[in-house]
């Protein structure tokens, strides 16, 4: 091929550059000047370039040289046209006009010169595929020449001029935005660096634009703040941020992150710089419930990294502080009245939740801050302290004081579920919604086990005394407790309690049918409740009592009946929970008294000797009640709260049941009667049961121990469970997982966890890693 080529090398060869160019040049000039080119001319140009490159060894270079000269000439002329304008805006206008024309041609002119790529490219070619039109060397030549012969000289003027325009726009003057856009485009398109197309744009235009913006607001913003104050300033800043964002979208290059950089800069200069000044007003706004202003502040400050941290803190502090202050202010009322306490908590909750919703659109971070504050208030111990535990046996176990909230919540629940003035006053829907409120508060309670215990005790009383207001609601409540994550074994026991009551009802039915004919009316007066010891009872301590004769006779019949129904089972009576109604007649009239079986047994001691004065000692013999139970029962008969006339009288007077001695004398008050509207009533009904005793005095003390013991056990169980699964685990991880497992029951203290880990290590359930004392290993 080269041989052929060289043989044809001849000055007269029509395909040499020198011979071809004169025909090509006019077309090139037409193209540069945006004049019309015929299709033939266009095609000729392609052919000529091709021929020259093929037949003239130096054709390519020569073509390039000639092109460079003509392009330079053309640009020189353009430059003269542009620079003839003194006025900046006119200059800008002229430049953009010329630039747009020239730039349009950058897409056309290079096309016929494609062949040059192969001929003179010295640098290694990029792969064919990635080579696009705008990579062509002619285009590069055009743009570079423009850059060198016109742009370089006036770019500073152009840029300054564009920035001046933007400045006047910021000050409210209208102008042709295309001028600024044109300048930007020439910056973007002039870059011939294939690696980073936006290099020139970024280093010049973007940089200057951002600097100009920054310096604009550096002057304006503090002045505005000083003149109009924080509230107006926040509005100003928000409007300006929006404005600048829109302006940036117009004037800055959309690919790349120019707009974001500009916004960051605006946030910095408009918000970050005044963050502290703005935030100082936050506590007062929260205090005044200025939701609109807070909303505005939130939107602004949230643009700053971690900016809202102080707002979260203010909110948490506010809720905690007002919550606790309200509690302390109302301490006298709410410590007496669980309804008021729960209502006050709920008011705090709804007030705070409303604030978080309206001011912070329920942003999760603010919800978390609210929840943290709720937790603090609910578990606070400055107003209520739960007394735990009491006996010497547990004296060596140090425990941290806990909030009494769960106990009060359980009491409140009881008021809603029992037949009480409160539950009668409310509609079914109201009760349901209040129960849900309780569950909401319960969510924040750390010692949920205490709630569970009290709730179960109340439920036991309601079921034994048939005092539930609505049995459907009772059972719903059990399911709701399950839904909010109360431990399954606890909820199952509650469900089992209802089941026992239902089974007992059927049993009673059968029993009555069977015995009505044999025993007569007495069968109808008796109801039995047979409980599953595992679900109900906390202790199985038996209390002796000498029952009234007719009951005493009846007991074996019931036992017999049950034995036939359930082979292999026997009954153990829980007379401290048994109760009934007696008719008490005296000189005044006839009264129905709801009493415990112990009270019944005590009153029956006088049945055969109504006028006798009986000593404590003899009552002891007659009732066979253990000492503490007899004292307590007698006290309830001689000093029942809120009644004018007591049913039993005694002497000498004492201040507490502990002071009764063997010789204290008791007798029936023959003038007992009920007083209503200061009138003595001859008939009536009174409930002397009060709060039904669920266990004996002794086992009550043990109850408090058991809460602590149970927690210890639960911590141990949970640690082993985690270790069995993980085999090895770090101290921190163990603590986290432990709290996760136990949080629905109680929050174990660090100290308790530490002690139980030590115990388990000592008893070889686990050990520390030999190299890392913070790593625990499971011992199978």
């Amino acid at each position: 091929m080269s041989q052929v080529k060289s043989s044809m090398l001849d000055k007269t060869n029509p395909l040499l550059f020198e011979n071809k160019w004169p025909n090509m040049r006019p077309i090139v000039l037409k193209l540069l000047q945006q004049e019309c080119v015929t299709q033939n001319e266009w095609h000729d140009l392609f052919f000529s370039v091709h021929s020259v490159c093929l037949w003239d060894e130096k054709g390519g270079t020569k073509v390039m040289e000639a092109l460079r000269k003509d392009i330079t000439d053309f640009i020189k002329q353009a430059q003269q046209r542009v620079l003839s304008h003194e006025d900046d805006q006119a200059l800008l206008k002229a430049y953009i006009l010329e630039w747009r024309k020239f730039f349009a041609q950058c897409d056309y002119l290079p096309t016929p010169f494609r062949q040059l790529e192969n001929t003179i490219r010295t640098t290694p070619l990029p792969t064919k595929k990635s080579m696009k039109d705008n990579d062509s060397i002619v285009r590069k030549l055009m743009l570079d020449t423009w850059n060198n012969s016109i742009f370089k000289d006036i770019k500073q003027r152009l840029q300054n001029c564009a920035m001046k325009l933007v400045y006047s726009e910021r000050n409210g003057e209208a102008f042709d935005s295309q001028l600024v856009i044109g300048v930007r485009e020439s910056y973007v398109n002039l870059c011939s660096n294939a690696e980073d197309k936006l290099l020139i744009y970024r280093e010049n235009f973007e940089k200057t634009y951002i600097e100009a913006t920054e310096s604009f607001y550096k002057t304006k913003a503090p002045e505005y703040l000083r003149l109009y104050g924080v509230e107006n300033y926040m509005k100003y800043a928000e409007i300006k941020l929006k404005e600048e964002e829109m302006r940036a979208q117009k004037y800055l290059e959309s690919c790349g992150n120019s707009v974001q950089c500009l916004i960051d800069c605006c946030v910095e200069v408009l918000v970050s710089a005044f963050k502290n000044t703005i935030l100082t007003e936050c506590p007062e706004m929260i205090q005044n419930n200025d939701t609109e202003k807070l909303q505005l502040m939130f939107r602004l400050i949230d643009r700053v990294q971690d900016g809202i941290e102080p707002m979260l803190m203010y909110l948490e502090e506010h809720i905690t502080h007002t919550g606790l202050a309200d509690m302390i202010a109302a301490a006298n009322i709410i410590t007496q009245d669980c309804e008021k306490y729960v209502e006050q908590l709920l008011m705090l909750f709804s007030r705070s939740s409303k604030l978080v919703k309206e001011a912070f659109s329920n942003d999760p971070r603010f919800l978390t801050a609210r929840d943290k504050a709720f937790k603090t208030v609910v578990n606070d111990i400055s107003v209520f302290k739960l007394e735990l535990p009491t006996t010497k046996q547990c004296a060596n176990i140090k425990y941290l004081p806990e909030s009494k909230c769960p106990e009060l919540l359980a009491n409140y629940c009881d008021m809603l579920l029992r037949k009480t003035p409160v539950s009668k006053r409310l509609t079914s829907d109201e009760i349901e919604s209040k129960l849900h409120d309780v569950l909401l508060v319960l969510k924040y309670v750390q010692n949920k086990d205490v709630f569970m215990r009290f709730h179960k005790a109340h439920l036991t009383r309601r079921l034994i005394l048939d005092s539930s207001a609505d049995s459907e609601k009772e059972e719903n409540m059990v399911e709701w407790l399950r839904e909010v994550g109360m431990p399954a074994d606890y909820v199952n026991k509650l469900a089992r309690m209802f089941q026992d009551i239902k089974v007992s009802e059927d049993l009673n039915q059968q029993f009555k049918e069977q015995y009505r004919n044999i025993k007569g009316n007495i069968a109808d007066t008796i109801n039995i409740k047979i409980l599953n010891a595992g679900a109900w009872a906390r202790s199985s301590e038996r209390v002796t009592v000498s029952l009234p004769l007719e009951l005493e006779d009846f007991i074996p019949e019931v036992e017999d009946f049950y034995k036939k129904k359930h082979n292999g089972r026997k009954l153990q009576w829980y007379h401290h929970m048994s109760n009934g109604t007696i008719t008490f007649s005296n000189n005044i009239g006839k009264f129905d008294l709801d009493v415990t079986t112990f009270q019944m047994a005590t009153l029956f001691a006088w049945n055969q000797r109504p006028s006798d004065k009986i000593s404590y000692e003899n009552l002891h013999l007659a009732t066979e009640l253990p000492d503490p139970e007899l004292r307590r029962t007698l006290w309830s008969l001689v000093a029942f709260p809120k009644i004018k006339k007591q049913i039993v009288l005694y002497e000498p007077e004492v201040q507490s049941p502990k002071e009764f001695n063997e010789n204290t004398i008791f007798w029936i008050n023959h003038n007992f009667g009920l007083i209503k509207n200061s009138k003595l009533q001859k008939r009536g009904r009174i409930n002397l049961i009060g709060r039904l005793q669920l266990s004996t005095e002794k086992s009550q003390e043990e109850d408090n121990d058991s809460i602590v013991q149970l927690r210890i056990l639960r911590v141990q169980e949970a640690i082993i469970k985690i270790l069995k699964m993980r085999k090895r685990i770090s101290n921190n991880q163990l603590q986290t997982e432990l709290i996760d497992i136990l949080k629905n029951m109680f929050l174990p203290s660090k100290k308790m966890i530490k002690e139980q880990i030590e115990w388990l290590i000592e008893h070889r359930y686990m050990k520390r890693d030999e190299d890392d004392i913070n790593l625990f290993l499971y011992i199978a």
Partner: protein, 84 residues
């Protein structure tokens, strides 16, 4: 003065009647459940053999299932038959 019972609610819990207090297999009290159960009562019943020995149902079933040749009462080694 006179007191008369109008109505009475008697509360009792039930427990198993067995010759022993504890199950001969797991050694746990009958009033509690077998070591595999959580809640005593209907779900963890006791069963009696014709020999009149009594176990947690779950315990004796475990033992009987482990015996391939003859099924004997763990206490008296008589052939185990459930009492009706």
């Amino acid at each position: 003065m006179k007191v008369k019972i109008k109505s009475w609610v008697g509360v009792a819990t039930w427990r198993w009647v067995a010759n022993d207090d504890t199950c001969g297999i797991c050694r746990l009290a009958f009033e509690n459940c077998c070591p595999d159960c959580k809640l005593p009562g209907d779900d963890c019943p006791l069963v009696w053999g014709q020999c009149s020995h009594c176990y947690h149902m779950h315990c004796i079933m475990k033992w009987l299932n482990s015996q391939q040749v003859r099924q004997l009462c763990p206490m008296c080694r008589q052939e185990w038959k459930f009492k009706e």
